[in-house]
């Protein structure tokens, strides 16, 4: 091989590798992304049961009931629509009624959201801006407590 051919081989090899990497990234971005919705958006966007998503809102006051074993049921609300959530496992330290929460999982056929992860964040960052604003306007949102 001449010098020029060698150089070409190296460059082509590098480009091919970057191509493979880019392909992987695109493929992964299509299949592994999880969207964030509030209960209203779930209805609005007609999200199908079984679609993996993050559901965010406030834990409705008085809605937390403990079932058998480590199972917990509660309701997530964005003050317009509500959604029943069931979760088996330990709730995070910051989980409180009336506070912000994000649950990850999917809806079952009956419309109950079956969560496998529950994150509690006292922060409006985890809430679409309009919801946070609406909650603030209604005086429900306590702001981002420490």
């Amino acid at each position: 091989m001449t010098r020029k051919q060698k150089r070409l081989a190296v460059i082509l090899g590098g480009l091919a590798m970057l191509g493979v990497a880019a392909g992987l990234v695109l493929y992964a971005l299509r299949d592994t992304i999880v969207f964030f919705y509030t209960p209203s958006e779930v209805v609005q966007k007609n999200v199908q049961p079984g679609t993996r998503m993050r559901l965010g809102g406030l834990v409705e006051k008085g809605s937390v009931t403990k079932a058998d074993g480590a199972k917990v049921n509660f309701i997530i609300t964005d003050m317009t629509k509500t959604m029943n959530v069931s979760y088996t496992g330990q709730l995070p330290d910051l989980f409180r009624e009336g506070q912000g929460v994000v649950a990850e999982g999917s809806m079952d056929a009956s419309g109950t959201f079956v969560a496998d992860t529950v994150l509690a964040k006292h922060d409006e960052k985890y809430m679409p801006k309009d919801v946070a604003d609406r909650l603030k306007a209604q005086g429900v949102w306590k702001g981002s407590a420490p």
């Binding site: 990497a21 592994t32 330990q90 679409p128 801006k129």
Partner: protein, 658 residues
């Protein structure tokens, strides 16, 4: 009074930094030696001033001076001394002060130990350091002054986020920052070289130790953070692909690439333009990390304050340095003389592959980290890119790299014989296969990927030692002769061997916890027993407890192996006086794995929700990182990098390559 001194020193430091940025640069441009030399005292004075400022803030924390707003907001008089000290950087203002303090330390180190550098290069390097210092000091003085007073002073402070009250986390920020900021030296060298228009073997030899030091700090800083997340967050995992973790991981990937490409510049005078670009990128990613973490764009325990003005300011700094660096690169890089070419199958070729893989992996992480932010800004849609994305992209990109590490290290410079290199590796391959088979024998019912993954780790581990074994003629001479040869080897060879072997150890740990982790969630009442992994855990009792700055509940658990009691672990729920609750993990660490117990809330039937993990060989992850750190240290102590050595050879190597 002391706080005012600190504030005043900070403002003076800003002035000195501005001087350090402008005067030496002009001096280097006009060839004025005095102006160039002024960079050294400027860097040292700046260091002293920032030290005074930092010490003043620390004094306020240690004496719990709540008339300083920063102390009031982030400290509490009952906090143990260690956390009063770590509280200094447990908040936005203080952590930025630590950032510039470490920057000044690096600047001072270049000034003190850089006697062997050509005066113009040294002046320019220090000037670029000065410009970074100016930007960040300005940021602190304008938006994040830690010395603001409160009148009247409150009696008690708000306390530090209890999650941050932890020994590993007390030292995680300083190490991580030392890594981030250490890369600024590589950046300064790159910018200085671009202005100079000259990159040669000597340049690479000067850049490498700084990059190596930064890389070591990053390695230890990231692994401390991961260790903290493992036992403090109570989620049973060690890495979550959280944007904040990624922010520190990306500079690590690129600085690893930089370490390797600088070798090519040093030994073969090739890949020069690429290495300069990598130096700029590595520090750019550090800045990006600082921006992501400090601007409040991301929410996590790291984002102390959400303040759009600050975010905007850091974004400006970011654009200025990254944009400026890359523009200068585009303008000046074509002037750099390209080095010699080499065969694709050679040590250089292997290092190029290493760089390609590391950069591709870093790009995948970057996209996964920034894509949600970009999408939200553009469409308002919120998404989360989680572990599945990174498993699918980062994993496959890194896999070939890991396979190739032992091969690349055996190739010779310029033109190599691949067959001969592979032949020398057959022992390592056999050992790796053997390890896989042994694992398969013990764990034949588990996932098939486990033995494969462990063989990969073993391949890396044994493969790293092949070259070393060859060099010291292991088993071909008597042990004492081999040993004396070992002692005579350059430390950088030992360092490389250890670092690669450490990577292998880490891979084994990652494979084990990823594939063999046992998770168990259930409700327990005192007296209940359950199996987790090879152990049995009994819930003994829960008792109220009080400590200096929290009250809580201690759940006692007894761990059995078979019928034999081997340990007691305690998981606590703590309620900190000023702010917040945390859960402490009950952790039993053994040679073969960890039993990890987390006590939760009460359940409907009056029991406790308890979550348990058995994490086999998880400690290998941090052990591997530590071995890599030690390898870096050995390499750093190599004679080639000692201050005196390059000086003697300066005449032969310091001349430009043209």
């Amino acid at each position: 009074m002391i706080a005012e001194v600190g504030h005043f020193a900070l403002i003076l430091a800003l002035g000195v930094a501005l001087f350090q940025c402008v005067v030496p640069l002009l001096g280097a441009h006009c060839g004025n030696r005095d102006m160039m030399a002024s960079a050294v005292p400027a860097a040292l004075i700046q260091l002293i001033l920032i030290y005074v400022s930092f010490a003043a803030l620390m004094h306020a924390y240690i004496t719990s001076d709540f008339s300083v707003q920063n102390v009031f907001e982030n400290s509490h008089s009952t906090k143990p001394l260690l956390y009063k000290i770590s509280g200094v950087w447990g908040n936005h203002e203080g952590s930025m002060l630590l950032w510039v303090f470490i920057l000044a330390l690096f600047g001072g180190a270049v000034a003190l130990f850089g006697d062997y550098l050509p005066p113009s290069l040294k002046a320019r390097v220090l000037a670029v350091q000065g410009s970074i210092g100016t930007a960040f000091l300005l940021f602190i003085v304008m938006t994040s002054n830690p010395f603001v007073r409160l009148d009247p002073p409150p009696i008690e402070g708000n306390g530090l986020n209890p999650l941050l009250q932890d020994p590993a986390l007390a030292f995680h920020p300083p190490f991580l920052y030392a890594g981030y900021v250490g890369l600024s030296v590589a950046f300064s060298f790159a910018i200085a070289a671009l202005i100079d228009g000259k990159v040669d073997a000597a340049w690479a030899r000067w850049v490498r130790p700084w990059t190596l030091a930064a890389w070591m700090f990053l390695t230890i800083g990231i692994s401390m953070g991961s260790w903290w997340a493992y036992y403090e967050l109570g989620w049973g995992g060690w890495w979550f692909w959280d944007p904040v973790e990624n922010a520190s991981f990306m500079p690590w990937l690129v600085s690893t690439a930089l370490l390797h490409s600088a070798i090519v510049v040093e030994k073969r005078n090739a890949l020069k333009i690429w290495t300069v670009l990598l130096s700029i990128l590595a520090f750019s990613l550090s800045l990006l990390g600082t921006f992501l973490v400090r601007s409040g764009v991301l929410t996590s325990v790291h984002a102390f304050a959400v303040d759009p003005q600050r975010g905007f300011f850091i974004l400006t700094i970011l654009c200025l340095f990254i944009g400026g660096g890359l523009t200068l690169f585009a303008w000046r890089a074509p002037n750099l003389k390209a080095g010699g070419f080499f065969s694709p199958i050679s040590r250089e070729g292997g290092l190029v592959l290493n760089n390609l893989f590391l950069c591709a992996a870093c790009a995948a992480v970057l996209i996964g980290t920034l894509y949600p932010l970009g999408l939200e800004t553009i469409t308002g849609e919120k998404i989360s890119v989680g572990p599945p994305y990174f498993d699918l992209t980062f994993g496959p990109i890194m896999l070939p790299l890991l396979l190739l590490v032992p091969v690349g290290a055996l190739l010779s410079w310029k033109r190599a014989d691949l067959g001969a290199a592979l032949q020398r590796l057959w022992v390592a391959a056999a050992l790796a296969m053997g390890t896989g088979l042994i694992v398969l024998m013990f764990a034949h019912r588990g996932p098939w990927l486990a033995p494969v993954g462990i063989s990969l780790g073993a391949w890396l581990f044994f493969g790293s030692f092949v070259d070393l074994a060859n060099r010291i003629a292991l088993f071909r001479m008597d042990a004492s002769a081999s040993f004396s040869r070992l002692m005579g080897l350059p430390r950088s060879v030992l360092g490389m061997t250890l670092a690669h072997a450490g990577l292998g150890v880490m891979i084994v740990g990652i494979v084990c916890i990823s594939l063999w982790k046992v998770e168990h969630i259930l409700t327990m009442k005192p007296g209940d027993r359950t199996d987790v992994g090879n152990y049995t855990v009994e819930f003994v009792s829960e008792t109220p407890m009080t400590a200096e700055n929290y009250t809580g509940l201690a759940g006692r658990f007894r761990v059995y192996r078979g019928d034999q009691e081997i340990a007691n672990v305690i998981s606590e729920k703590r309620n900190f006086k000023p702010s917040g609750n945390t859960t402490e993990v009950g952790l039993l660490q053994t040679m073969f794995g960890d039993v990890y117990v987390v006590m939760g809330d009460t359940s409907a039937d009056g029991g406790r929700v308890v979550r348990m993990y058995y994490n086999p060989f998880v400690t290998l992850i941090w052990a591997g990182a530590f071995i890599m750190f030690v390898g870096g240290g050995l390499s750093l102590s190599d004679r080639r990098y000692r201050v005196g050595a390059p000086k003697r050879r300066k005449t032969s190597l310091g001349v430009p390559a043209e």
